[in-house]
Every structure is written in structure tokens, then in C-alpha cells.
């Protein structure tokens, strides 16, 4: 039973080795406008996206979310944070967070997603449990597709990370798309 018998069974039953091909990422290369493609895909997946100068960041966020009180700002360019968190914060206490501002490492144009990881937020549940989410992303940090994305994160410190694409959503009730399921109710990407 268990490990030994499973491995033995596989060894007996597996077919002759089929060689692994290498991926030729050039097959998928397209000369696209990264920023425009990224923007249109962020909108496609239900996110908001605003282009502006870094200096205007906090002003814009205050305009978008005028009524928020409990803000966790983990992007150094924002001074709006009212709650500070660390590795020792109890994740359950973040239930009341209205807004989290996180720095995105890079964006993927083909699907409007942003890679964020434990490097950017010390408590894993933060981008999910917050009511609304803002990701600050540099225009320069965009790549075309996931093949390139995986090259970019190949040397990271592997703990926890994700491609985040749009706000949480569901279409489980008669295929009607509802934005805001169990995770963040909205996602705004601020492209600086």
C-alpha cells in the first residue's frame, strides 16, 4: 500500500519513454503594443486601469476610494496606509481591511495579470481578504505572455506568489457574471 506500491505499479505500467520537447517561445511571439494590450485585457477581466505619474498616486487613490478607513499600503510610493502589518500579524485581523495597495512585480499583456508574491506582501491572505485592491505597476514592467513571465520568475525565492487577473468573480448562478466573489471586490491597476 501507499508509496511503494504506487511507484512499483507505475514502473510496471508506464509506456516507453517519450522524449520531452523544448518549448520554442518564438512560435508565439507577436509584435504587439504591450501597454495597450495589457490595458485592454485588464478591462476584459473586470479590472480598472489608470495611467498616471507616480507623484499623483495618492491623490488618484483617494479619489477612487474616498470612504476607506483601514488601508494597508505596501507600495513605498504611497503614504495612505493607516494600518501597518508584519509577518507576525494575525491574518484573521485583516478581515476589516478596506483597501490594500501592493506593488506589482510585472504584468502580462496577453491576459491582464500581474505577478505578486510574498516579497510584496508579508501576509499571504492580504490581496484576497481586503475589500478592494490597488496594484501599482511600472509601465516598464510588462511582458508579452506567460512563457516570458515564467522566465522572469525562474530565479525567485520560491515561497508563495500568484498571477492575479482582475477582481474576484463568479458566474456560478445561471452563468451571470458577478464581480466580487470571495476575494477582493475590485481591482485597480495604477500604471506609473
Amino acid at each position: 500500500m501507499g508509496r511503494q506500491s504506487i511507484l512499483k505499479s507505475i514502473k510496471t505500467n508506464k509506456p516507453e519513454l517519450v522524449e520531452l520537447q523544448t518549448i520554442d517561445a518564438n512560435l508565439f511571439f507577436e509584435d504587439i503594443d504591450l501597454i495597450e494590450t495589457f490595458k485592454s485585457n485588464v478591462k476584459l477581466v473586470g479590472g480598472n486601469i489608470i495611467e498616471l505619474n507616480q507623484a499623483d498616486l495618492d491623490v488618484q487613490i483617494k479619489e477612487l476610494y474616498p470612504n476607506v478607513n483601514k488601508i494597508v499600503a505596501l507600495d513605498p510610493s504611497s503614504k495612505l496606509g493607516t494600518i501597518s502589518i508584519s509577518k507576525d500579524t494575525d491574518p484573521h485581523s485583516l478581515e476589516t481591511i478596506d483597501l490594500a495597495i501592493i506593488k506589482g512585480e510585472f504584468g502580462v499583456a496577453e491576459n491582464g495579470s500581474v505577478w505578486i508574491s510574498e516579497e510584496s506582501f508579508p501576509i499571504r491572505v492580504l490581496p484576497f481578504i481586503t475589500n478592494d485592491l490597488v496594484i501599482v505597476l511600472s509601465k516598464k514592467d510588462l511582458c508579452e505572455n506567460l512563457h516570458i513571465a515564467y522566465q522572469k520568475i525562474a530565479d525567485r525565492n520560491r515561497t508563495f506568489g500568484l498571477f492575479l487577473s482582475g477582481p474576484s468573480k463568479t458566474a456560478d448562478i445561471e452563468q451571470c457574471l458577478v464581480i466580487g466573489a470571495q476575494g477582493a471586490m475590485s481591482l485597480t491597476i495604477i500604471l506609473v
Binding site: 518549448i23 481578504i129 487577473s165
Partner: protein, 455 residues
């Protein structure tokens, strides 16, 4: 009951069949639109198919590699030969942590192992947190689709369910209201959970990490709040390298729902400080399927559900007609291998149109495997004597030209001259809703002979 009997019952409500069919065809169309936007889509499918073929031919080594890398990162790895072992292992971990409240995100594997009733029997509350799964959990039904578990439920039915179990006010099935109420209800469950169970979309041998994809964020809400995270995977979910995720994640959501990617593609490599992460690797009949040359590639399945969305029979009969954990085309080639007697009607619930094979992101030749299962089932399962006799006799007739010529004439004579009530009787299933062809004077043989005679 066989698939055809259940399907006939489903078809009594034609309006519902139309609604169900259109809902899923719409998802298929979204898949098409999305796939059209990807340069090299067919090449991507070829790659995915090739990677999976390599995986199946080197599965033991990849699993060993995965285990070593996962353990290095502090993930505890368990192995279960079958459903019972899996359930026991999960329970043991929960019991060790005195976990009484568990939240679970979508895992068809745990569905296959019937984990929920097992744990509930041990006094543990299990809440399925995917909205569609929560709906069917409250309705005490199995999911009818592997990606859209409650596709068979109208919003009015969901409204009534939520009124009863969540205390919502009647809303005529307002999706925003109902989803928001479910959010509040599930938040409460996430915050109080002692442990979280998730599935695994892909496990990477090279890194010992795994990926869980959701739109709702429920897998993450569960696993990052509770102190213990248990991830359950079938042995075939392994892929060799992290870069291969580029191929599979580009294919998965597009094939499934037409989205370019799910909202969250979470990459788990290490447990958070002070927490536990477990992975349970499960066989439960998969190594046996691996031994079947004709059916082995069905293990490549990445559980996207595209075959169900495109299948004209699935759309018109609903997932429950299959009476299998995984329904539809892929379910019909996986299930007979696990219980041939129970699932012997499934490979026949198909016209072999081939649409499923064409949408499959990993190019499983589903329609060919359906044909192949038919040959196996007919030999190994007792067949209805009438069907068997008719077909065997037909075979004998078709092998003998003169006898065939005689039979051809007799059938034509019967069709032409026998009274209508005899032909359109209950025994004649064709004639229930269709007319039989009108028999002409003479067949092609006779016409040709005459033509030759007359020069």
C-alpha cells in the same frame, strides 16, 4: 439506470434542455473567441499533449523528484493507493490538529474519494467554498459539471436554497444579491476554519510546488487563514518543469470558460511560517489506467471541462445523467476503467462526432477511446440478448453476399407492405418520433442490373 434512461427523463422538460444546451454552447463559443486570439493555439495543444505524454512515460521519477523538492521546502508529502487511504490520511492530519471545521475548495479528486461524507461521519464540518459547489452541497446533490458545478440550477432554484439555508430574503434569483450573501456566509466559514483542503491543478516536479487556479479566491481565503493546508492530487497532475506552466495556464482557462486566465493562479512552494502544508498524492485506479495502452492518454486530462461544453449529448442530457464523478466525454473514458459494470452505458452515450477531441487542450483522442471502450465492454459485460443477437446475425449476413441480397429484399418488402401499426409500434424506437424512409420500387442492385442488361 443507464445514461439513456436518465437522459430520456431529462428530456421530458424540453424548455430546460434548451436552456441547459444554450448555456453550455455559449461557454463553448467563448472558448472559441478566446482561442482565436492566441497565435499558435494548435501548436500550444501539440506541446501540451507532448509534455503529458512524456510525463506518463516517466511518472514515477517525476513523482519522486516532486516529493524530494516539496519536502525540502517543508511540505509534508503523503501517498494514498485508493480513496479509503486518502480519506484516512486527510482525517488523520485533521484529527492531529483537532480540526472540527474545514473549508474545501474545488477538488474533483476529493469528490471521487467521497471525502465529505467520510469526514462528516467523523464529526467534522466540511464546507465547499466554491459558490457552485456550495450550491450543490446545500441541495445535497453531486456537481453536474467539473467547472460549473451548478450549471443545471436556475437562479430561482438557488434563491430558494439560499432562503432556506442562508436565511436570505426572496429576490427572484438576483445573482448579485445571492453572491453577496454567499460571500458573507463563506467569509464567516473561512475565518472560523481550523483547516483548509484544496485541489491541485498542476504539481511541478522541478520545484516541488503546486498551482491552484480559481476565479473566486476561495482556495486562497481558505489556505492562508487556516493553520493547516491539505492539497489533494491525482498522480497524473504532475508536470516536469515550472516553465511548462506557461503552456498549461495559457490553455486551461481559455478552454474552460474562455477567460485568458483565472483570476487567481496561486503558486504554493513553502508553507507560511508557523503553518503546515500537506500534499496527498493519490492513485485510486490511475496506475491501472496507465497500463491500458488505448486509454492511457486519458490521464493527460487537465480537467478543463471543454469536452463537456462542446458535447451535444452532454448539453442535452446534463451531467447527472452520467452518474459518474466526472461526466461527459472525458468521464466516459475514465469511468469504465474504474467500474465497468456501473459505467458500461457511458461510451455508448455518444455519436462519436469527434468535437470533444478537437477542443481538448491536451489532444486526448476521446472519440477514438469511446469507440475502443465499446469493443471492450461488449466482450466483458453481459449484453442485452436482443441487441447482441441482432448484431451478431447482422455480421454473419453481411459476410455473405447472396444472403445479404435476400435479406435486403425481405426488409424492403416488410417496410413497404407491412401495416403501419406493426412498424410504428412501441418496439420500434426509431419510429417513435421519426418517419421511416419511403421504400422505392427496386434497389440500386436491380437498377444497375437492368441498366447493364439494356446496354
Amino acid at each position: 439506470m443507464s445514461h439513456s434512461e436518465k437522459a430520456a427523463i431529462f428530456n421530458k422538460d424540453e424548455a430546460k434542455v434548451n436552456w441547459h444546451d444554450k448555456a453550455l454552447w455559449f461557454v463553448r463559443e467563448k472558448r472559441d473567441t478566446s482561442a482565436h486570439k492566441v497565435k499558435g493555439w494548435e501548436e500550444l495543444r501539440n506541446l501540451a499533449s507532448g509534455i503529458k505524454a512524456n510525463v506518463l512515460s516517466n511518472l514515477d521519477n517525476y513523482l519522486i523528484e516532486f516529493e524530494a523538492n516539496a519536502q525540502k521546502n517543508g511540505i509534508k508529502v503523503h501517498w494514498a493507493s485508493n480513496a479509503e487511504e486518502h480519506n484516512k490520511i486527510v482525517h488523520k492530519i485533521l484529527a492531529k490538529h483537532k480540526a472540527k471545521k474545514v473549508v474545501k475548495s474545488k477538488s474533483m479528486l476529493t469528490e471521487e474519494c467521497h471525502l465529505n461524507p467520510y469526514l462528516e461521519n467523523e464529526g467534522i464540518e466540511v464546507i465547499d467554498t466554491d459558490l457552485g459547489e456550495r450550491i450543490v452541497q446545500l441541495a445535497k446533490e453531486p456537481p453536474s459539471h467539473i467547472v460549473l458545478p451548478a450549471i443545471h440550477k436556475t437562479k430561482e432554484e438557488v434563491d430558494e436554497l439560499f432562503q432556506e439555508h442562508l436565511g436570505t430574503t426572496p429576490s427572484n434569483g438576483n445573482p448579485e444579491y445571492l453572491t453577496n450573501e454567499a460571500r458573507k456566509h463563506l467569509r464567516d466559514k473561512f475565518l472560523k476554519a481550523d483547516a483548509a483542503i484544496t485541489g491541485v491543478n498542476f504539481a511541478v516536479a522541478e520545484t516541488g510546488g503546486f498551482v491552484v487556479c480559481t476565479n473566486e479566491g476561495n482556495a486562497d481565503m481558505g489556505s492562508h487563514l487556516a493553520k493547516v493546508h491539505i492539497a489533494c492530487m491525482g498522480i497524473e497532475k504532475i508536470i516536469p518543469k515550472e516553465e511548462h506552466l506557461g503552456v498549461f495556464l495559457r490553455l486551461l482557462a481559455r478552454s474552460s470558460t474562455g477567460q485568458p486566465i483565472t483570476t487567481y493562479s496561486s503558486h504554493f512552494n513553502k508553507p507560511a511560517e508557523g503553518r503546515e502544508m500537506h500534499i496527498v498524492i493519490v492513485d485510486n485506479g490511475r496506475t491501472e489506467q496507465l497500463s491500458r495502452e488505448e486509454f492511457r492518454s486519458s490521464l493527460s486530462c487537465i480537467r478543463c471541462g471543454a469536452c463537456m461544453n462542446t458535447c451535444p449529448i452532454y448539453r442535452r442530457s446534463g451531467g447527472h445523467s452520467y452518474d459518474a464523478t466526472i461526466p461527459g466525454p472525458i468521464g466516459s473514458i475514465l469511468s469504465p476503467g474504474m467500474d465497468m459494470k456501473k459505467h458500461s452505458s457511458l461510451p455508448f452515450a455518444s455519436t462519436l462526432c469527434g468535437s470533444c477531441s478537437n477542443v481538448c487542450p491536451v489532444k486526448i483522442n476521446i472519440h477514438e477511446q469511446l469507440y475502443a471502450w465499446r469493443q471492450v465492454i461488449v466482450k466483458e459485460q453481459k449484453q442485452p440478448i436482443i441487441k447482441k443477437s441482432i448484431l451478431k446475425i447482422t455480421g454473419a449476413v453481411l459476410a455473405r453476399p447472396t444472403l445479404y441480397s435476400f435479406m435486403g429484399k425481405s426488409v424492403r418488402f416488410m417496410l413497404k407492405y407491412a401495416p403501419k401499426f406493426m412498424i410504428y409500434s412501441k418496439l420500434n424506437a426509431w419510429g417513435k418520433a421519426r418517419d421511416l424512409p419511403e421504400v422505392k420500387n427496386g434497389n440500386f442492385d436491380q437498377w444497375y442490373k437492368n441498366r447493364e442488361k439494356n446496354g
